[in-house]
Amino acid sequence: MISRRGLLVGGTSAGALLLGGCDRLNQSESYRGVLRSAEGLTMRAQRLIMDRNALAREFREADMSPIFRSNGTADPGTPLYQQLLTGNFADWRLRVDGLVARPLSLSLQQLRSMPLRTQITRHDCVEGWSAIGKWHGVPLGLVLDAAALSTRARYIVFHCMDQLAGRPYYESIDLIDAFHPQTILAWGMNDRVLQVPHGAPLRLRVERQLGYKHAKYIERIEAVESLAGIHGGRGGFWEDSGDYEWYAGI
């Protein structure tokens, strides 16, 4: 007969075993691989139920966060960035290259003269917080069309001017998100020029994914067929360094 005390002792030891076991499992590369397979499942399921052009909600001015906190790099701080900032980014250029027929080098003025989209959207950080802000920018699809994207291109990579832990920040999205109507290269925020903590002079808005996908301080956009050869090969800084999901729709 099992006594109540026996059950309690058994339960406690099972709990301790569970804890130690979970940490050991967490270290196991093959177990992590099984957990990671849920990311593809989630992406396919969300893409299945979501129209490719389904819009993230757009809010009214009255709904905006009084203060929009910044996250990640607050200032790239490099001598080059400092110099560009001092010149109001007049010398900054956005390079668009990789699998494109017409590589581009665009000034901030040229980007601002392209068709403008303004959207008030909710920014969801992977940490759990949300902030609502107003973004002004040019749809990424127009820039890619101007560069004549190759049919071989499958991903768009955003190379950034900031570094974290000594490594350059970068991000990538696929063409469904790249040509989504709300995916813009934002040069303005809350009716002002984009400020340094939010990614001046140019940042990505990819509204159906979490905040770390919204690359700041962009200097180069590269169209590629595969993410394998770029930095750690997983498609982004946090994907490479922390095992964050490349598809951050949830």
Partner: protein
Amino acid sequence: MDAPRTAPGSAGLPASPDERQEVLRHRLSTRLWHWLNAVVVIIMLMSGLMIFNAHPRLYWGHYGANFDPAWLELPRFPGWATIPSTYDLAGARRWHLAFAWLFGVSTIIYLLAALLNGHLRRDLLPRPRDFAPGHLWQEIRDHARLHFPTGEAAKRYNTLQRLSYGAVVLLLIPLLILSGLAMSPAMDAAWPWLVDLFFGRQSARSVHFICAGLMLLFILVHLAMVLLAGPVNEVRSMITGRFRLPPERAA
């Protein structure tokens, strides 16, 4: 999959020689889901606490971050309560979002099975008489004095079991799943009604946390009741399905 033995609420078996009747208390689908959940729900709770640790503040409405007023701010949960045990938001998300699939899919299968085999109607949906104040009060008093049903009355879920299991299965778990999905920016674009159900993403996050707390409370009370009601008989009935009816108390 279920042998035509006695289930809660149907006619009893003939009395066994030792006068402690055995009845089929739990169907296979219930037992499988129960033991799956014994693992999955614990992992969801512990990995969820690690995710919460990344920003241990809760808000109401659509937005909420450090400069906005939080209705709840907690210190970070300690390592023994979280998966992984040291700070690792990405790792916790991998656990949480993988096991969420198991949790969601198994819940749907269980609910379908419960609908088809009558478990839902017979044992989980409350009946009008469950809410009769006199009856409810009597059951609460009996429970508080640890007078559990015996004999014939122990064959079916009593009112408190019906109300608590029904609330967990039909309200708490669906709320947990829906509020979890409402935190997804892609889901909110696909199904805008989802986040409206909770009046905003940060409200959904708060509801998710509160429901997780209620789930933990349910588990603790559930375990206490199993211990008090006779752990061997109760645990065995959830493994084999067979429950030995407690003999009638002498009057």
